[in-house]
Amino acid sequence: MRYLPLTDTDRAAMLETIGAPDINALFSDVPQEARLDGPIHDLPMHASEMAVERHMRTLSKKNLAAADAPFFLGAGAYRHHVPASVDHIIQRGEFLTAYTPYQPEIAQGTLQMLFEFQSQVARLYGCAVANASMYDGSTACWEAITMAGRVTKKARAVLSCGLHPHYVEVARTMAKFTGDAIVSAAPDLDAGCAEDALIAEIDDETSCVVVQYPDILGRIPDIRKIAAALEGSKALLIVVNTEPVALGALEAPGNLGADIVVGEGQAIGVGLQFGGPYLGLFAVTNQKLVRQMPGRLCGETVDADGKRGFVLTLSTREQHIRREKATSNICTNSGLCALAFSVHMTLLGGEGLERLAMENHRLACIAADRLVEISGVSVLNDVFFNEFTVVLDRDAREVVRVLAEKGVLAGVSLGRLFPAEDALANGLLVAVTETTSEEDIETMATALEEILA
């Protein structure tokens, strides 16, 4: 067994040192009736690397990879080109096989990277402080809601109708157990973001208002207006972003009045991976809120020689110190994804991020203009970044299914996202990134024309 270095000679010598007659003696505390006397039945025995690789490749080849089809899916997970150097760096053994940096003297590599990551996220979001990552956008969103509860000592969260339905679901699920009240509604197929309806829900018991930017239909809500409506209220404004590339073209939420900005970082550096691991981002505009934040934080300090160094800090908020009084139960987060994000962001820089964003938007405009030409298709959005909603003349789920048979991955049907909302059934979310070619757009449009004809 190729991962086990002990030889039988070693094992015998070690048992002798220990003073045990055989290996079973070391398991003597296991009750007799629970001891297994051989390998578990019904599972295969060990296999060579070649055999395992072949098996896994066979499974992999059963899937239609995004690179092999015109591809337009988004809805919270975006396909971007990740430079090869990103993957090279995250595979360095020193990053890949290191533990959480609890011994800072020999973990400055991870710690400095985290400090840089936090700084990058804070700037991207227009915030003062970001943490060292969460599991993903949906859990970060829920953690923000609970944090708002701790800060405001209120328990009614008002969710915008444009928030990703999975994020809403997570909040609803968790609230069942914590007793928080969650106010939310499904969106209408309307170009406006219903800011007024949202504002109307704010009351004295409200701990926070949660708005997605751009929202699940690709619309861009008026964050400033909502922030203005919260003036004088204790409730916090939480802005959720699921496509960080958008912030290369749109103003940072922190600069528009958000108190907490959270989001999904997957689009930068991480890749689709069928949904995980992803990267939750979490930042606040006011450093004073930091002691109520969930998750790890890396801070700057000096060592005994006076040199700059970095450590995990403010851990008195965390579970391993504070146990049941912690601000979150999160422990392992998305360290390596944070590294991938940080490396990709460093390769981009402000200049590259803006270029990338504008290239996404340019191609999305081309796609919207092309699709709207098709009879039976209208485009919902007046404004959008790289994703917009088209409304078909029939249930989009079926259209998506037929297009998949034709080898086109056409987008996410609103029916899949909102199975209970029949009014949304004709909606199709279409995402366009720099990986989408104009040829891909034409292929999809042509296929759609055929179906709708």
Binding site: P5, A34, L43, M56, Y135, F274
Partner: protein, 508 residues
């Protein structure tokens, strides 16, 4: 050479990607919040980027460099095949919302892994979506709560041993429970009688770690489970230490109702400097119907179905006779696919026989360390029977004024990452050593020699130890300053020069 921050060496005008420059005159449909200026983020060219991170990486310790004896963390070798498989396009480049017909292989991975986890643990069902161990704990506790609520049984207390991981009480609290401690016996195990005495109609669950964090197998586990069940509660088992028993003991045989499995511990997906992990939760028959959405399940006809909101009701109606009462969704999408492919690859490589050998070698290695050190270092439970996959020591025999921290830092100068320190809390100055099965005897002997060296020096009270480490990229860091005056993002201040370190003078 010191490595500067990207903010100090990068510029907002430099970029390491080739994309067309922005045409500010082009009309856009971005609306009112279109940026007037590009974001303030430092960019580097590709050569600078590769060098920056390569140099940073060399300030880290890692399994690839040496033994990483972190008790409770299971830092074992990460096979490279797993990395290769996770990057196959059919796994890495598929979207979670692709039509199910285009991702049958991905669903098969989830299903095949589920099957392994269920058979290895002797359990009934498994929820795959939790993102890490703590998330899995939460999932398990929410299943318990959902099951209790489904039978209209509001309970409010969860019992947790003092020696538990911090995530246990934090999770119980997040699930809305009050936490009470279970006392331990002299020999480092749960006090069965005391626990029985506390059980009652208000106790929702008991959270047990087995093997426990003192490194011991809970001999009375079955009795504990029986007592809890008899009192109408559930047994949650923290699976962080499953590496010690995989293939030799099935938690299901011990009466466990829910247990999370850290794929990044037992099944060798890499820790990555703090994640991502993955924490599937295996469940007993009683808890299975409450699993969170989405999940994947194989039906009697052998076909794998991905079950989401859209199809959950219809699916359980058809295949489970309508008894599914999922408590909801814990995360967007389906969980940590990238970790699933790695873990499955690892399981297939080892097979049922190899995984059993994993447990045996892990336990053998830990006992070897325990028995090689106990003459020199206080081993509080050395008489409590063999340890499992980790050996626990305390600071009792140190010279006055010397702490476990001093020993840990001195171990750095010997070329090792320190063991887990000050955990579990039940032992003074605890040192929890977990070598794992992927260390050779030669590597252990070398480590033991270094460990004995620093233990002797701590016992003798060698003053210089208090300032260790001397030879790391950094000396001891001022954590108090970091916490008192937190600097959590780059502010533009220039780094203090300080005294040149050894490694700095060393050039590389």
């Amino acid at each position: 050479l010191e490595e500067a921050l990207i903010f100090e060496i990068g510029s907002n005008d430099t970029t390491g990607v080739d994309l067309p420059p922005v045409d500010r005159k082009r009309s856009t449909r971005l609306g009112a919040f279109a940026r007037a200026e590009k974001p303030e983020l430092p960019g580097l060219s590709e050569p600078q980027t590769v060098r920056h991170y390569t140099r940073l990486s060399r300030q880290n310790y890692a399994i690839d460099l040496g033994l990483f004896p972190l008790g409770s963390c299971t830092m074992k070798h990460n096979p490279r095949l797993n990395e290769k498989v996770a990057r196959m396009p059919g796994f890495a480049d598929v979207h979670p919302l692709q039509p199910v017909s285009t991702v049958p292989g991905a669903l098969e991975v989830i299903n095949e892994l589920s099957m392994w986890l269920i058979k290895l643990t002797g359990m009934h069902a498994v929820a795959m979506s939790p993102k890490a161990g703590a998330h899995g704990e939460l999932c398990g506790m929410l299943c318990i709560r959902a099951a209790l609520e489904a039978r209209g049984d509001a309970r409010e207390v969860v019992l947790v041993p003092e020696s538990a991981h911090g995530t246990n009480p934090a999770t119980a609290a997040f699930a809305g429970y009050r936490v009470e401690n279970i006392p331990a016996t002299e020999d480092g195990r749960v006090d069965l009688e005391a626990m029985k005495a506390r059980l009652g109609p208000d106790v929702a669950a008991v959270m047990i770690t087995n093997p426990n964090t003192c490194g011991l197998f809970e001999r009375d586990m079955k009795a504990i489970s029986d007592a809890v069940h008899a009192a109408g509660g559930f047994v949650y088992c923290d699976g962080a230490n499953f590496n010690a028993i995989v293939g030799r003991v099935r938690p299901g045989d011990l009466g466990v109702d829910a247990m999370h499995i850290n794929l990044h511990k037992t099944f060798s997906t890499p820790h990555g400097g703090g994640g991502p992990g993955s924490g599937p939760v295996v469940l007993s028959e009683a808890l299975g119907p409450f699993m969170p959405l989405p999940y994947a399940s194989r039906t009697k006809d052998g076909v794998v179905h991905l079950v989401e909101e859209e199809s959950a009701d219809a699916f359980s109606q058809e295949h489970f006779g309508g008894i599914m009462q999922s408590f909801g969704r814990m995360t967007a999408f389906h969980g940590q696919m990238g970790m699933f492919t790695r873990a499955l690859t690892y399981m297939l490589s080892h097979g049922a026989d190899g995984l059993r050998q994993v447990a045996e070698d892990a336990v053998l290695n830990a006992n070897y360390v325990l028995r090689s050190m106990e003459d020199l270092l206080h081993a509080p439970y050395a008489a409590s029977g063999p340890c499992m996959h980790e050996a626990l020591f305390g600071d009792r025999d140190f010279a006055k004024g010397f702490s476990t921290l001093d020993l840990a830092k001195a171990l750095i100068d010997e070329g090792y990452h320190p063991m887990t320190v000050y955990f579990p809390l039940v032992v003074h100055g605890a040192m929890l050593v977990e070598p794992t099965e992927t260390e050779s005897k030669a590597a252990l002997d070398q480590f033991i020699a270094a460990f004995r060296n620093v233990a002797s020096r701590a016992n003798a009270g060698e003053e210089a130890m208090k300032s260790a480490p001397y030879y790391a990229p950094r000396r001891r860091l001022d954590e108090t300053q970091a916490a008192r005056n937190p600097v959590l993002a780059y502010t533009g201040e220039v780094a203090p020069a300080g005294k040149p370190t050894m490694s700095e003078r060393g050039g590389r």
